[in-house]
């Protein structure tokens, strides 16, 4: 978000910072928990605990984005954020559907493990591109 940050209000900067931080936590936790699951044979209860832990920052991110959208007075930026989120969801759905058919042979990592990363990269990339295009 380096390009657009200079022109954002204090509220927008604060919101973006907290959303970016939470998205970073989502990705880091996802990588960490995947590594734990690969190295250890855990019982079902622990796996449920890990699964719940993995979705906690995702829920927190959703709540942060919802709070930001509710408070955002600039309707154009609000529009861009919603559009970017839809792009992120769309790309994840497309990748997930496509690789669910071809995955065993051609892709080393299960797509479900990186769908969150794909979503975050798509949303931030799309938002950045739209703001840069409209400088």
């Amino acid at each position: 978000m380096a390009i657009c940050k200079r022109q954002l209000s204090a509220y927008q900067r604060r919101s973006m910072r907290s959303i970016e931080t939470m998205m970073g936590i989502c990705i880091a936790l996802n990588i960490l928990l995947q590594a734990v699951l690969e190295r250890h044979h855990l019982n079902l209860v622990t796996r449920w605990g890990i699964a719940l832990l993995s979705i906690a920052p995702v829920i927190a991110t959703i709540l942060l984005v919802a709070r930001y959208l509710r408070g955002e007075k600039d309707e154009y930026l609000r529009n861009l954020v919603v559009e970017s989120i839809l792009w992120g969801l769309g790309i994840v759905l497309i990748a997930d559907t496509f690789f669910s058919y071809v995955q065993p042979d051609s892709f080393p990592i299960p797509i479900g493990n990186i769908s969150l990363d794909i979503f975050v990269l798509t949303v931030s990339g799309r938002l950045e591109a739209m703001l840069w295009r409209n400088q």
């Binding site: 927008q12 600039d74 309707e75 154009y76």
Partner: protein
């Protein structure tokens, strides 16, 4: 939808940043409206009309209005 925002702004020697500040929106929003990439909501259109001391129809026009 077409608009005369750039003309009205130029008449007052306002930059996009000036107008954005007066409207309390980002400069990108002003640019997006001016270039026709984004149509403002009715409340924002009214704010623009008040700011330029004119009516909404003097700022915005669609194809239907132009053909009438």
């Amino acid at each position: 939808m077409k608009n005369r925002l750039r003309v009205l702004r130029a008449e007052r020697n306002w930059s996009q940043a000036d107008l954005a500040q007066k409207l309390e929106v980002s400069r990108q929003s002003v640019n997006a409206i001016e270039t026709g990439k984004f149509d403002p909501s009715l409340p924002l259109a009214f704010r623009l009309a008040r700011l330029f001391e004119t009516d909404i129809e003097s700022i915005f026009s669609d194809d239907f209005t132009q053909h009438e």
